[in-house]
Amino acid sequence: MSHPILSLRDVWVEYGDTIVLEKVTIDIAQGSFVSIVGPSGAGKSTFLRLIIGQEAPTRGRILMEGAPLVPEPGPERGVVFQRYSVFPHLTAIDNVAFGLDCAGSMFLGRLYGRRRKAALEEAGRMLEKVGLSHSRDAYPAQLSGGMQQRLAIAQALVRKPRILLLDEPFGALDPGIRLDMHALIDGLWREHGLTILMVTHDIKEAFKLGDRVLAFDKRRHDPHAPHRFGSSAVYDFPLTGKNRRPPAEILALASREPAEA
């Protein structure tokens, strides 16, 4: 085992006076499925934004496979957000082919001829994997919420990212649909050997899907200046096949009132 795929070394994120994350030091192994939980305002989303590259840490270092992470989104880190992940003006198949278009055509941003045909075939296979073959020519507005998330996953996977980041991907879906999505993402994780980081509000989902659970919260709390202490990963559970029950302190964390901003 060489480098961990992702490692954070003493990372801090501050907005002016407010400290959001403090002293975050985490290694993430290649091929793991890490669930990230915590009360609202505990910096889960900030953590994900750091890894996407939407934000740079105020202090500390983030390394991807040993090299410093460029603070800009890139194709080695795919992402699926809760909403707005797909492009409304493209059909399902074109949404998936978008990544291939960008990779293959610097100036036109779109492939033509034989290369386009090959890209469409690849995108078609991806749609098939997420069960959307029958909707290949539909626009996102014509798809249900669950189908849009399936499309977003297919779109993210087509560039074969090293890490897949999921930001409450199933939060807006009905419970039944959510179960289907769990099966889908679990299957893709195993089949492709992906490394997945998933932020979720749903503790059961976190413990069902992940092989490791990180819980973010503030270690210290100053009632007079709550913004002066940031969050970090306060619990770190490796999960094995049998150990799938959320411990009491995690359930308490999740049911707590949101931390003050």
Partner: protein, 273 residues
């Protein structure tokens, strides 16, 4: 008893309800016109329908011996050429500026205050400047339309482009898109239907600026004609001209709406925002 806010007219009664005010307005005109004609057969302010029809038909068919052209045709061609040129220049520059301002924070920081400052200048107040600088020819008239509607269109489009959810811009980057590819494949197609919407909203002001410019300095054009015959109280020419201008405006508006539905169906899809 149902609340008034919950009573929705069906398709048939909606047509009926919509027709009532139009029919009332037409009747009102006819009654007022007949009353004035009875009192004074030479009245020119509210001519009867047959007089409007005759004068309109004369303008649309008879060649004017001085200019050698049919007035309505020559006026329409001249006005539409100015309007088309003005709208074309405005739309083209709006597309470029709107995308740059909406997509690139650096450009927004540099040009945003300038566009905002230009947008508060009343365009008609600039018209004398245009006539002085550009002369009384076509350029000044087209320039008034461009100056009149472009700032609004640019501000509208750039706010629409910057309102594209950040999730989409990040997603495109995680799929390897460069700034250029984001502009071309993400922002441009999503901006197009918004641009058409902005253009439709700007048609009314564009006509206002066109007619204002033609009224002041021109020798042909729809606005020129109605301001010319105003001297002779020729309501029988003015009213058919106003009706014709309105018809042209409606046709242009509907054509743009059709283009938007035809080429950007995803923007009109059910459930789309």
């Amino acid at each position: 008893m149902r609340r008034l806010v919950n009573i929705r007219p069906g398709p048939g009664s909606r047509v009926f309800l919509g027709a009532i005010p139009l029919v009332l307005a037409a009747l009102g005109y006819l009654v007022a016109s007949a009353t004035r004609q009875a009192a004074n057969p030479a009245d020119k302010v509210l001519p009867p329908l047959d007089a409007l029809w005759a004068a309109g038909g004369r303008m649309a068919t008879q060649v004017d011996p001085i200019t050698g052209a049919v007035p309505l045709v020559a006026d329409t061609v001249a006005s539409l050429a100015r309007l088309g040129l003005g709208l074309g220049i405005s739309t083209g520059s709006t597309l470029v500026l709107g995308l740059l301002l909406g997509l690139l924070p650096v450009v927004r920081a540099a040009l945003g205050p300038l566009v905002a400052a230009i947008a508060v200048i009343p365009p008609i107040a600039v018209l004398p400047v245009l006539f002085i600088v550009l002369g009384l020819g076509e350029t000044a008239k087209v320039a008034l339309i461009v100056i009149g509607i472009t700032p609004f269109m640019v501000r509208d489009l750039s706010s629409q482009v910057s309102a594209i959810p950040e999730e989409q811009r990040v997603k495109a980057q995680t799929l390897g898109a460069s700034t250029w590819q984001i502009a071309l494949r993400l922002a441009l197609p999503q901006a197009m239907p918004k641009l058409l919407k902005g253009l439709r909203l700007s048609l009314g002001p564009a006509w206002v600026f066109l007619i204002a410019a033609e009224a002041i300095a021109s020798d042909v054009g729809l606005g020129y004609r109605i301001f010319l015959v105003r001297r002779y109280l020729a309501m029988d020419v003015i009213l058919p001209y106003v009706a014709w201008i309105s018809l042209l405006a409606v046709v242009m508006d509907q054509a743009l709406a059709w283009i938007s539905r035809r080429f950007f169906p995803w923007d009109h899809a059910k459930g789309a925002e």
